[in-house]
């Protein structure tokens, strides 16, 4: 501690601190704080609005704290069974979809990372080409329908589980972080490819696996496009599709009609929209801090050197 002070005092001679550096630094931190406000405040506002009297929110009386605290929005939310059906479906799609996605992409990435894989370059090309060229909406739709996958659970977790970008990231990780000697040593001990992959490579690759699991899970949790195109049965609808009906297309409001009772119902519906945003977003944001520690190691290695 005293050493540091001494250095700063002496610093005037030893390390010349420019005033322009000081100004740049101060300006940067002021800008960073402003940016934080712009990023946090809208989200914070939704949180306090979800606990406030909707009339107060509409009149502009809610700025920093909830006004006339109420849980009416959340109570209203409990009554909508389709939200909970959607919630259940999304959890199922996310768990099954992430498991399939990890199994498919991580194993392919590992195989492609090995130099002794004959034809690996061509197989890589086969994958990469699909990043830039595809059949398009209608031909893909027709294919899914011909395979009898339209309006099934499986369509949400299987057909689009190959993620070429994830394969590239994981492949780079395996190439740079798992030494080739390890495989040679294992081979001498009589270990085959599959056992080596399961017992040695996977435990050494927690960082990249958790990053890809996070990406895949977030993708499943947030997706609505596939459900919009490939699902008809509302019992299979994921949360996002139901949210779209509540938040964007205002299906509830049009069902309310007019008059005094409708005005009250409309306010309640608005309040519920705040609550629904919180309930739909909190779970996925809760996962993030747990994987964050792997994040830096995983993404950095995977992304930089690709």
């Amino acid at each position: 501690m005293s050493g540091m002070e001494a250095r700063t005092k002496k610093g005037a001679h030893a390390v010349y601190v420019r005033s322009s550096d000081r100004i740049l630094e101060i300006a940067m931190y002021i800008f960073a704080v402003l940016l934080l406000i712009v990023l946090i405040y809208p989200i914070y506002f939704i949180v306090i609005a979800s606990f406030s009297d909707p009339a107060a929110v509409a009149n502009g009386q809610v700025w920093l704290f909830p006004k006339d605290f109420t849980l009416a929005g959340y109570r209203e939310l409990l009554k909508h069974s389709n939200i909970w059906v959607g919630y259940r479906n999304t959890i199922l799609y996310t768990i099954v979809g992430t498991a399939i996605g990890l199994a498919v992409n991580i194993s392919a990435a590992y195989a492609l990372s090995r130099r002794d894989l004959v034809g690996g370059k061509y197989i890589s090309l086969l994958f990469i080409f699909t990043m830039f060229f595809n059949g398009g909406l209608i031909p893909t739709f027709m294919t899914i329908r011909d395979f009898q996958l339209y309006d099934t659970f499986l369509v949400m977790v299987l057909p689009f589980s190959v993620a070429v970008f994830n394969i590239i990231v994981a492949r780079t990780f395996f190439k740079t972080s798992i030494p080739e000697d390890l495989w040679e040593a294992a081979q001498i001990d009589g270990c085959g490819n599959l056992r080596y992959f399961v017992q040695i490579v996977i435990p050494l690759s927690k960082a990249v696996i958790s990053v890809i699991a996070l990406w895949t899970a977030v993708g499943h949790w947030n997706s609505y496009f596939n459900a919009l195109i490939y699902l008809k049965d509302s019992n299979l609808y994921p949360l996002q599709l139901i949210l779209r009906n509540i938040l964007v297309t205002n299906q509830m409001q049009s069902a309310l009609g007019t008059g005094e009772a409708a005005a009250v119902a409309l306010r309640l519906a608005n309040l519920m929209r705040y609550a629904v945003i919180i309930v739909a977003t909190v779970p996925i944001m809760c996962i993030y801090p747990f994987v964050q520690k792997y994040f830096n190691q995983g993404v950095m290695i995977g992304a930089v050197k690709q």
Partner: protein, 308 residues
């Protein structure tokens, strides 16, 4: 000669056999890609046919370029292309923002504030597109939203951001910046973390200012990553995504919000004109592909950076 070839192929076969486990690991991904990416490519044929479900893809009569011509002559041609390009170029213009953010984070001293700052800037990325658009509809409502209240506080009339054609591209692009700039900066922060610290020390010894270090060490360090990502962005110039545009679309902003992707969806899925929709989609894909190859070629020639 023949014997040698035989020998080669036998050797090849034995090398493949030795690593059969690896091919087993590859199998699921290859099968899925063939079934769900390559099989649909065969379906592109319907863009050149008068597709009727009864006849199937093979037996439907050929239509030549009829549906392409139909698109080029349609009154939607100019609008959808223009809207797509405008939104795309506008997005590309915001391309430096994550880079600036990364340069800034790189200048911060490693402490709690830096960690907090990064966590907060990443967070909005996790909001789903549906919720994001819902959020915008609520906050930007001129009558009951935050923006409306803010304007009333200053006694002004709030613009209807979600319900006017003039605002559409700005709202679309800047909400994207808000949501993803932190996330997009990760890759640049990663690239900067690879800078050898002795470079900074040497620069300090030579009396370089912070600004000069950014200018002469950090920015050149980011160049390859920047160019790679820029190629991908430009190669996708006509690829404005369906999801957010479709959600933000309404009758009031439709003149500037109808893009190729939403048009393809409406023609194909909602009015079942399969051949017409596929033709528009194919036109879009081919232009993107050509752009990508062109930009990659130019970049390779002048900067030695390229995708392949």
């Amino acid at each position: 000669m023949k014997a040698g070839q035989l020998n080669d192929s036998r050797q090849l076969f034995s090398r493949i056999k030795k690593n059969w486990g690896l091919y087993l690991l590859l199998l699921p991904a290859v099968v899925l890609v063939l079934l769900f990416s390559y099989v649909p490519m065969y379906g592109i044929l319907i863009a050149f046919k008068d597709y009727s479900p009864a006849a199937g893809i093979m037996d439907s009569p050929w239509a030549g370029l009829k549906y392409f011509g139909k698109f080029f002559r349609s009154y939607q041609f100019e609008t959808t292309i223009k809207n797509t390009v405008v939104i795309s170029l506008y997005s590309v213009a915001t391309f430096p923002i994550p880079i600036m953010l990364a340069l800034m984070v790189n200048q911060m001293r490693p402490n709690r504030f830096k960690r907090f700052f990064q966590t907060v800037t990443y967070m909005p990325h996790f909001i789903s597109t549906v919720v994001m658009v819902g959020l915008m509809l609520i906050l930007f409502s001129p009558s009951t939203g935050l923006i409306g209240n803010l304007f009333r506080l200053f006694g002004a009339e709030a613009p209807n951001l979600m319900g006017s054609a003039g605002w559409f591209s700005s709202v679309y692009v800047w909400s994207d910046v808000w949501q993803h700039m932190g996330w997009d900066s990760i890759i640049y922060i990663a690239a900067l973390s690879a800078v050898n610290p002795s470079l900074y020390e040497a620069a300090t010894m030579d009396g370089a200012s912070r600004w000069q270090k950014i200018r002469y060490i950090d920015i050149p360090m980011l160049m390859p990553t920047m160019i790679t990502l820029l190629i991908l962005r430009i190669g996708n110039l006509l690829g404005v995504g369906f999801e957010k545009v479709y959600l933000m679309q309404n009758n009031l902003n439709i003149t500037s919000s109808e893009v190729i992707a939403t048009y393809v969806y409406k023609i194909g899925m909602l009015s079942s004109q399969y051949s017409f929709s596929s033709a528009i989609n194919l036109f879009n894909t081919v232009i993107n592909f050509v752009l990508l190859i062109m930009v990659n070629y130019i970049s390779k020639k002048y900067s030695e950076n390229s995708l392949w």
